[in-house]
Symmetry: D3
Subunit: 283 residues, 6 copies
């Protein structure tokens, strides 16, 4: 079960604040303060669940007397109609929290569902599906948690937990007359000793230079399948390889078959299709 840390509570609070959830005139006009009810969160379409704990926390944040019970754990494959949680208590509280709770769980389950499709597409192959830092601003931790629930792995959580030398870095050093090999060498020498050095390369020649410079990981960006296979072979035993760049569900298995160790997919978090989950009152 996802722990609801202070970070998560802060995000929940700012979501409730932007919705002015504590100043809801509709419930104030209509719902008696003491009316109690019961509602279920249920899937309206198939998918992989993520964020049920966050959704429950939203209800309890709005009104600590609301009880929320999780019926399915994050990571569960759902079919339409499955109940994932039940909330009980003040109808006012539940209604004020409804939209915010759904906004979290629908996005997170959307991410988990898409991730799981990528993971299934490469089933049986020795490759990991990774996310990127292309997450919705403010939702990094939740987006990446959802990727894990879908069976993916996380790439860097932030700029600080890995060295990744990208095209713009390489260009900036080239402008000073520094070769790729030397760039990589400097990074290996200067990097915090607990971090590996990953280098984005677009050609086999760059790959070779990066390896010579001491790169621990190669990011093969937008390479053709054949070239990618050659790069993966060249790196084997010397560095890990990661494929990236517009890799669709259709194409991902072919990429995996090139022998890369990892495939990163920005769409997992930057182009999310919300999963259809709703709150049904059972008054």
């Amino acid at each position: 079960m996802q722990p609801i840390t202070r970070d998560t509570l802060d995000i929940i609070d700012s979501a409730l604040e932007e919705d002015l959830a504590y100043q809801d005139p509709t419930t104030a006009c209509l719902i008696p303060p003491d009316q109690r009810g019961r509602a279920v969160l249920l899937a309206k379409s198939p998918g992989v669940l993520a964020g049920v704990g966050v959704a429950c926390a939203v209800f309890q944040r709005v009104d600590p007397t609301v009880e929320a019970s999780i019926l399915r754990e994050d990571g569960t494959r759902l079919k339409a109609g499955d109940h994932v949680a039940v909330v009980r208590g003040s109808v006012r509280g539940i209604l004020k929290a409804e939209r915010t709770a759904l906004n979290f769980i629908q996005r997170m389950s959307g991410i988990a569902t898409l991730t799981s499709q990528y993971v299934q597409a490469v089933q049986g192959l020795p490759v990991h599906i990774l996310d990127t830092r292309k997450t919705a601003p403010g939702l990094r931790l939740l987006d990446k948690y959802a990727v894990r629930m879908g069976g993916g792995r996380n790439h860097r959580m932030n700029l600080a937990d890995g060295i990744l030398i990208k095209d713009n870095h390489i260009a900036a050093l080239a402008a000073q007359g520094v070769s790729l090999r030397e760039t990589v060498r400097r990074a290996v020498e200067q990097a915090p000793h607990t971090l590996k050095v990953e280098v984005e390369v677009e050609t086999l020649q760059q790959a070779e230079e990066a390896l010579e410079g001491g790169a621990h990981i190669l990011l093969l960006d937008n390479m053709g399948l054949e070239e990618m296979a050659l790069a993966a072979a060249m790196a084997r035993g010397r560095a890990l390889t990661e494929a990236s760049g517009g890799i669709t569900l259709e194409k991902v298995r072919a990429v995996a078959e090139t022998g890369v160790d990892m495939i990163s997919v920005g769409a997992l978090t930057h182009s999310v299709q919300a999963m259809d989950i709703s709150l049904d009152f059972q008054v």
Copy 2:
């Protein structure tokens, strides 16, 4: 141009914080603190621009000495290759900010682009395309701004700036033996006098009841086209009508032709496809 209010700066700050943008070991290892450069934000695919001001603000928030010039205003229809802004200054600062800036502008332009497709689909008809409160948690104001840039209009910004009686409210009152008409009447009587009362209805009979109760707006949820046309006709001169419920790009013109005043589309903000915009260094 979008004003960068304190709300927006707070979102930018939390995005930079979750990326630990001020602790970037890659630039610290490789880029001299005094290297200066110039980079452009450019469209890699066609779409409608939104968020260029936010993206520029991200660069300047990371390093106030970076200069950012907007070349195209939000709302502009872009083709692949168009430059939308140019940033100049500390290469370190620009690189630390790059991903966060792109995460904003790619999501916002994705929203504007999808919205504009809906707006174009109903062109010539007297109808407004509306968003919903189904936004990414924490990004409500930016998501809704992007909808406006795409030519759409905003529905409620939060729970407090409109009365919207939805199925769950109606069910909660029905559980106490209160009819729909009486529910609406109570809301009209109790609501803050500056707010209109909108009522979600699924049948013509509910529509009639809501109108008799004094509803100012009918939300026609998941109605068939014929029924919707009847409801729109029934309401004309008595209340505004809004269609909602799984309205796709394919279906939206037919819905508009029923004569409703507004069409609301959750997908505008809950199922965003990031627009492909990148930062290219011109060192």
Copy 3:
């Protein structure tokens, strides 16, 4: 009972912080950490109670082990000597919280008391007493809650939950050659569809123009009683009417008799006389 939302806790926290309530040398010098006691909040003068929940929350915020029991609900008409709550527990904790708790309940009960005097003055007439946005900075929600406890209704909570075209807006558009009628028409056309359009008018001619422009509500500002009665009559069936502008307790019934639907009174919140409520220890 007033729910203590996170918004309210934030206000309580900043009040305790400005009082450095956790660094109180007087209790540190004199009161043993384990001394326990019992104290009552009691009215020293007659009035209408508001804020007893907030006051109790202050004690518990300073020391969660203090127990606070509410004896009278907000909205109760009190006479001098009435006990409204009892607090039990650490004497240190109670004493640190005392002043802050009293500052809340005295102001809020002062507002409720004044409001109830206005409400009583128009008893039997079909009119609502409204507050304004002239509240103490930071205390908007509590001030407006207190108005409700006194029997009043709330006008806009903030700039966003109603369109109110005031003299300065009208002047700004007039400066561009836009007539009042056209100004109102534009607002009706452009306003979020869930909001009504209220227009401040000072003459019968302005009232007529505003009505022709489609105003939903007329704010009759500083009109004489006769003119107000004419305006109210002119608007009946076309728009709601609200009287405002220096309406004293002496004058309010006459204003109500003009037939306006609502009377707004800034003094309810901008010129509060604290109600005399104190904490008495019963050691």
Copy 4:
């Protein structure tokens, strides 16, 4: 001129936030983003000015391009019609900030005006008018600044910058069999060495006990005039004396004539009458 510290900016920000000043649909509908104007803050009734700097800061916080010029300094005695500041720039920005700016300056000037009336009432006598900690929650620093602008002095800013042994402390120690003299003695012994010890007394006998215990200041609470004069005489040369307890404008001079050194008046900040100051556009 009042410095606008970070504390003050925080209060301004929360006032703007509770007003949703950045989401104002009225100006969004009506005022072109590029319309510029000029408006004056002017007194509508006589009084003493306080808060003009805060009001100006509000306008600039909403829109940093708005220029605000202070025409009269805080502490100035105003007559109706006096202009106190002029603001120039974006009409949208000015209108969004108007109400919040006025809420600050009206309250603060109300406090300064009332304070100055007390100060005038005791003119020529060697006595200071003091405020109390009975301020509006969150506005302590501004309320107390306004008192100074009215010619008053500040009592404790918070619980930590003075020892004040009040009735409830005395009762708590009496419950443990500790005499008033011993209570005072302990405080003198235990108090931080930079703080004086003030003791609330209600009788001459208590006054004597407190003096014997070493009190530096006597707070004469709700004493009759004669008794107060005796207490003041008894304390002269041994301790300062402060009168308090329902001291009205009518009564204050007689109290001052008893020879006390200070008179504290809760009403200065807990029962404020807003001064009538308005914003007039000169488009």
Copy 5:
């Protein structure tokens, strides 16, 4: 026991945040989420305990289900091997919190230990050992609490709870031709009536001037022992005296014997040697 106030929780939260304690990949990789364990905090060297409550609060802040029991109270003199607290529960939670908890208790116990050495060095003499405002930024309250646990007393908590006229103030007034006596006199006249006036002096002549000006406390800065004794004698009965300026453990008793009332030592908090306390798992 030290109360864990909201101030303290804020410091704990920012310490956990800078450690990214909720994103610990080491425990995520290795420790099953349901593994439970028991660990003790124990002294590895002798010293005086301070901060055991803060350390326990850190564990519970990271994971509210972790139980922490305090075995020794703050202020206890420890020998190597003494257990001071025991924590039980989620091993993940305990390990994430370990370093942050230790950082607090090691620093605080280091302060208490050093303070107690000073206090012991002057045992039997009528003098208090005081801290200063030379604390680690952000840790003022905890640093000063630790001083108390070591048997010391606190000097000013902040700039506002005492008047202290230092060399730079005196120089600034001298630059305007104001004598020390007059400077002190002005401060006594203008100071909030609850605060004493302390004056830093470096010579007997300055001491005399300050006394004539009405100083309540003399801060004897960097005086020789003989001069200090003369100053203390001169001040007796007229003002308190405080010695300061590079007073080492070796020298402190001699300083105390000059007859000063207080000795302040910046090193107590600005040059802390962490006490060696560790967490031992007993799985």
Copy 6:
């Protein structure tokens, strides 16, 4: 020059807040608001400078009109009497900021000075001096910056930017029957692919197991010099080695001569001796 990021401004703000720097009665009583002056920050003892930028930022945060010029860059070796910065402007502003500014620069320079002593002690040997996470709560980034200014390198900034398997982790897995080798293997397999795996070992046998498990770095904890040399030899070409555990200035060169790659020293940040730097007014 150290960039003053938002993180740093937040720390500065909380330091100023705990000092109530904006409510300083001493300057309010004595210093005219318009008095301007000039003061220098100067070293009173030799050492290595760090934090001059932070100190300058403190002055400007208190009063943005104060000008602060840096005369020596961080990292400079200072002798007693060297001027490091000059501040000019409002005397009130400078005096309010003085203590807070000094608290930062004295601690940071203390850290840099101690670090430089360790670095000098190992001069000529191929080894890096590292800090640890044993920093003052809330000051992690500044403490670690100061280490770099002293010529040291940083170990992990937080729990998330490196895998470090410590004694308690090993014990927790041993309790489940998992060998050290298997523990390391699991971490290598599960760790984010950008992070290296470091393992704390106390014996040569553990070192061998860790290497077999695939450890990238060995942390040699509290080993004797001979054993350490053997471990370093065993690891050469297979993993980096880091020595730790009570390594004093006296002992550090001998440790370096064992051939380890890095030496980490907790005392650099947990047992700081403030450098003597003061502010001298030159009015």
